[in-house]
């Protein structure tokens, strides 16, 4: 699977032109990028490189920063965990925002509500839980507070996207897993769960176990890295053999 960070199959041409030109520094393009992220939220597409360009514009022009757009970018970045996108987005935020959240964490208080610091703090909790593979806690946190519902409200199909990502991680690591564990990781039960596992993941349910077909990642086959011998390596020998006939 080839992967290039700066490309995106769904990216419109005009966005591509801005990203590759100097207009990416022009504050007037902020609006275009903002519309683009709104569109990504709706159509369940994702273009990190463009979103980072918008965060960069905010970095240069802090007065343009829109709270809602920024949280949408961060929420979108969560949907592609465990890739580094969330961290890369944080790197471009104003340093005092993160410092505020850290201070608040240490003092056990919450940052003032309705601020970027609050949103970043809440989303960071999710990010940590996801990266630490604490999926049941992730769902508890997400469903435990109405603030979270607001934060991810704009991202269409957020829960579904998260389930798919979790399924990807699971499929890389497991051949068989107990149904009850998977249910709590996916936070769905009963027929909904069966449907998701069978239709979307293509896995089998056998009694209390979910069987995941073997793939390249979950096979765990011992291998020996063999020497890669090329004919050119013998060039010198062959040459010598011709030069000095025995």
């Amino acid at each position: 699977m080839g992967y290039a960070f700066d490309t995106c199959p769904d990216r419109p041409e005009n966005i591509d032109a801005i990203l590759n030109g100097l207009d990416r520094y022009n504050p007037e393009t902020t609006g275009i990028f903002q519309d683009y992220i709104a569109q990504q939220c709706e159509s369940q597409t994702y273009d990190c490189f463009a979103n980072l360009a918008l965060l960069k514009l905010y970095q240069f022009n802090p007065h343009l920063l829109q709270l809602e757009t920024t949280t949408n970018i961060l929420a979108k970045a969560l949907t592609v965990f465990p890739s580094p996108d969330f961290s890369l987005c944080l790197s471009l935020l104003p340093p005092h925002v993160l410092a505020q959240t850290k201070n608040a964490q240490q003092n056990g208080t919450a940052p003032p509500s309705g601020t970027l610091a609050e949103a970043v703090q809440l989303l960071s909790v999710l990010h940590t839980q996801l990266n630490n593979a604490q999926y049941d806690q992730f769902w508890d946190t997400l469903n435990g507070d109405d603030l979270y519902a607001d934060l991810v409200a704009d991202v269409q199909g957020f829960e579904e996207l998260m389930r798919v990502r979790i399924a990807v991680v699971v499929s890389q690591c497991m051949q068989e897993v107990e149904r009850s564990i998977l249910e709590s990781w996916m936070s769905i039960k009963g027929s909904k769960f069966e449907n998701f596992v069978k239709e979307i993941c293509g896995w089998k349910i056998e009694g209390e176990k979910v069987v995941i077909p073997l793939n390249k990642e979950n096979e765990a086959r011992s291998s020996v890295v063999r020497e890669n011998v090329k004919f050119e390596q013998f060039g010198r020998m062959v040459k010598r053999a011709y030069e000095q006939p025995a």
Binding site: L22, D23, P27, Q59, A99, N131, I181, A220, S223, E227
Partner: protein, 483 residues
């Protein structure tokens, strides 16, 4: 096209480069700036200014020389501002004279020195300003300096610096030339009037490296790596001819990769340049070598961090030096766990570039001007914490070919829920994007660890990739010796 276009942007005025001649605007700005300056050492200042625009070949030579010379350590604020101004004048002269200017540069690495010093001063000015604003409440600072900085927010502005670099790149059409070379064509037809001259070519080329550096300093790591799209990273590249440039390039590329969690790629970059340095250090003399010694140490620290995050076999030379320099820290980091965190922090702080904030600090709210280094550090530490228990898990798994989850959890003194999460985390961490060909941002997701495993319910199957004996290599080497 003007070097001092920054304010135009900030007012949301004209498009970046659409207007080739915004001289009026610029003149106004310059006047405005001169007025602001006038309260100080007005007379003296005007004097330096009037000579600065190419009044004679000798002055110009002095100016070229000055541009590549570091400011003294104790330079006053005024000197720093003047230095900014003379850079602006020099670049304005080079970029906006009628036709390409024909000047003799003092040395072949002059272009690198100018860009390097220009960015160094920009970087240290931003850090200084930020620190001053942050400390103004707690310690005694020079009120006058703060007033000057407050009133001149555009001195060493980020937009102006980027504008200089982009203008030099555009004028010299260096990207087009490099792209042609990459395709195997002759770059000359793409060079244009400016780009065919070595002055512009070199300035343009090193501006690309400069951009890499600025983007990295601003925390935009993916864009930093992307700027090198047209440059091929190998020993034949043009930057390799200037040792300091060679070194700087790999440092920033490696660091950016590290922040993108691509440790294998970061290690490849560090490895390449550190081996190069260790092989050539006997030929390197004088100032050029001194300046890289510090960076050399920093890169070893980064190598230590990357190896701890992503266990790899290093080149023997690098491995030996690493043991000498950071042996103690490395083994503590490789052991993992919470005790390792302060070591990661210490090494990161010592080895990271001095990050900057692109906007002038908020002098009215000192507490908002947090050091950007702390910002990037805390982001990176989140990643380290996430990785914290991987070494423990790996060290146990190495001993078995199959293992029961609950039993292993008993060994590790955690519940099986936690261990299951650790195993998932470790698996995720072992899959990372690695560059194979094409642009530097491209790559494939590969397994970067020789240890792999899969879980069947509560049973863990462990597998290890072993390196087979290299027989052919051995025979060939011995044949070559005797035959």
């Amino acid at each position: 096209m003007s070097v001092r276009q920054a304010p135009v942007y900030q007012q949301g005025g004209e498009r970046p480069r659409a207007d080739p001649d915004s001289d009026g605007e610029e003149e106004a700005l310059a006047n405005n700036y001169r007025e602001q300056q006038a309260y100080g050492d007005g007379e003296d200042y005007d004097l330096t200014r009037s000579v600065s625009l190419g009044s004679g070949p000798q002055d110009l030579q002095a100016q070229l020389q000055a541009a590549a010379t570091p400011l003294e350590y104790q330079a006053t604020l005024e000197t720093k501002i003047q230095s900014y101004d003379s850079y602006c004048n020099l670049f304005h002269f080079i970029l906006n004279s009628e036709g390409p200017v024909d000047i003799e540069v003092p040395s072949y690495y002059w272009a690198w020195d100018v860009i390097d010093e220009f960015l160094y001063q920009f970087n240290s000015f931003c850090s200084y300003r930020q620190r001053l604003a942050y400390q103004q409440s707690s310690t005694q600072v020079n009120e006058d300096d703060i007033t000057v900085l407050r009133e001149n927010p555009n001195i060493w502005g980020c937009y102006s610096v980027l504008n200089v670099l982009y203008s030099l790149i555009q004028r010299s059409q260096i990207s087009e030339q490099l792209a042609a070379r990459k395709r195997g064509e002759d770059p000359a037809p793409y060079a244009g009037e400016y780009g065919s001259r070595s002055l512009y070519q070199m300035l343009g080329y090193f501006s690309i490296i400069g951009l890499l550096r600025v983007h990295c300093l601003l925390g935009d790591f993916s864009l930093a790596v992307k700027t090198l799209d047209d440059i091929e990273l190998n020993k034949k590249a043009m930057f390799a001819r200037v040792m300091a440039a060679n070194f700087t390039t790999y440092y920033y590329v490696g660091f950016s990769y590290m922040m993108m969690h691509r440790y294998a790629d970061a290690l490849r970059a560090f490895n390449h340049i550190l081996i190069y340095v260790s092989r050539t250090k006997n030929f390197q003399k004088g100032a050029q070598y001194d300046s890289i010694t510090k960076k050399n140490e920093q890169m070893y620290a980064l190598v230590a961090i990357c190896v701890a995050m992503n266990p790899t076999r290093l080149d023997d030379t690098i491995h030996t030096s690493l043991r000498e320099k950071y042996g103690e820290q490395l083994s503590r980091m490789q052991r993992g766990g919470p005790e390792a965190l302060p070591i990661f922090e210490e090494l990161f702080r010592a080895a990271c570039p001095k990050f900057i904030s692109p906007t002038p600090p908020d002098f009215d709210n000192p507490q908002l001007n947090v050091d950007p280094v702390e910002h990037q550090l805390s982001i990176f530490m989140d990643e380290v914490k996430n990785n914290m228990f991987c070494p423990t898990v790996r060290s146990y798994l190495k001993l078995y070919s199959t293992m029961d989850l609950t039993k292993l959890a008993g060994f590790l003194e955690v519940d099986s829920e936690t261990l299951r999460s650790w195993l998932l985390v470790n698996k995720q961490r072992s899959r990372q994007v690695r560059h194979s060909e094409g642009g530097l941002l491209e790559g494939d997701v590969v397994n970067s660890n020789d240890l792999d495993y899969a879980m069947q319910g509560d049973l863990i199957h462990v597998s290890e990739a072993k390196v087979g004996r290299r027989l052919v290599d051995w025979y060939l080497r011995n044949l070559a010796r005797t035959y």
